[in-house]
Point group: C2
Chain length 178, copies 2
Amino acid sequence: MAENTQNQGPRWLNHDEQRTWRAYLLATRLLMEQFERDLQAHAGIPLTYYEILGRLSEAPDRTLRMSHLADELFASRSRLSHAVARLEEMGWVRREQCPGDRRGALAVMTDEGFAALEQAAPSHVESVRRHLFDQLTAAQLDGLREVSEHLRDHLVSSLGLACPPDAADATRSSDTPS
Amino acid sequence: MAENTQNQGPRWLNHDEQRTWRAYLLATRLLMEQFERDLQAHAGIPLTYYEILGRLSEAPDRTLRMSHLADELFASRSRLSHAVARLEEMGWVRREQCPGDRRGALAVMTDEGFAALEQAAPSHVESVRRHLFDQLTAAQLDGLREVSEHLRDHLVSSLGLACPPDAADATRSSDTPS
DNA sequence: CAGCTATAGTTGAGCTGTCAACTACTTCCT
DNA sequence: AGGAAGTAGTTGACAGCTCAACTATAGCTG
């Protein structure tokens, strides 16, 4: 009921689309859960933390400003802040004052952090190979890359357009009424 | 350093693979976050809860045994238990004694639950269309389905082989030592 | 039928993520 | 210079997930 009432109605998924959607959703979930489990078992950290360490390890002086790190990972500042706090507790990252901008903070990877990453990397890469790359043909991987890049670009650009509404009245606190 | 030492060394990702992996990871994350956000905004529930409701709505009498529901969704019993508890609080699902097996529990979708699902569905489907189906060509979608089904099947079967180790000594508690 | 063992489901602690405030600094504009 | 608005980052409450432990029932086997 209420399939195609009047105002163009919801564009329901047909059988094939349903099938694609469910397969994609499930495969993606199982894949991520697998990577998380493997990484948790071998390194004791979630995939997002691994990525943070990865970016830091590639950066000059293994140092990045919090906001750059957040932008590179497309993570919210809040998420990054919590994550870095956790990594700091573990002694894998250290925070430093950002010279020239006293609001800023630098995340600096420690030697222990680098060692931990080096130790975690091989089994993580093996996991990614085993469950993803080894399962697909070169053509399928090309297709997957193409599709992923396309979807990513779409989402990244649509992300930029979604936020502004708040910015307009963000600072409208309770003081300075007029 | 330590690229190809002796014991076959880690099979690092080459440039193209790295690119594919990062694109896939990011696209997938952004996509899921988008669906979660949309669903949260329009229906106030996470995607997993939506799926639970979806399966229940398709089941005879809108009723499924907890374990069947968990199996269908490839969710852990724990996860399902917590989720159904929450859905019960909202009045969208009700638990019943399973006739014939006193261990069992049935999850029954309430009329309010069904109404909530019906109300949430259109915007969710729109979101999936907008960010996934509308972005890809028919050929790309075919490829995505093929790849997803393949990865899913691999993971599902490798899942069955990964657990048994526990089963052997699962009941080894602290009592009955000899 | 006694006793393992397996199955069904729940529970609680701990962790990561989101969202919405909040502080503090900087930049721009007049 | 002075004040509004933007930017950087943190924090705390809360929600969902995982894991391990637990209860309770079922089923198998000698």
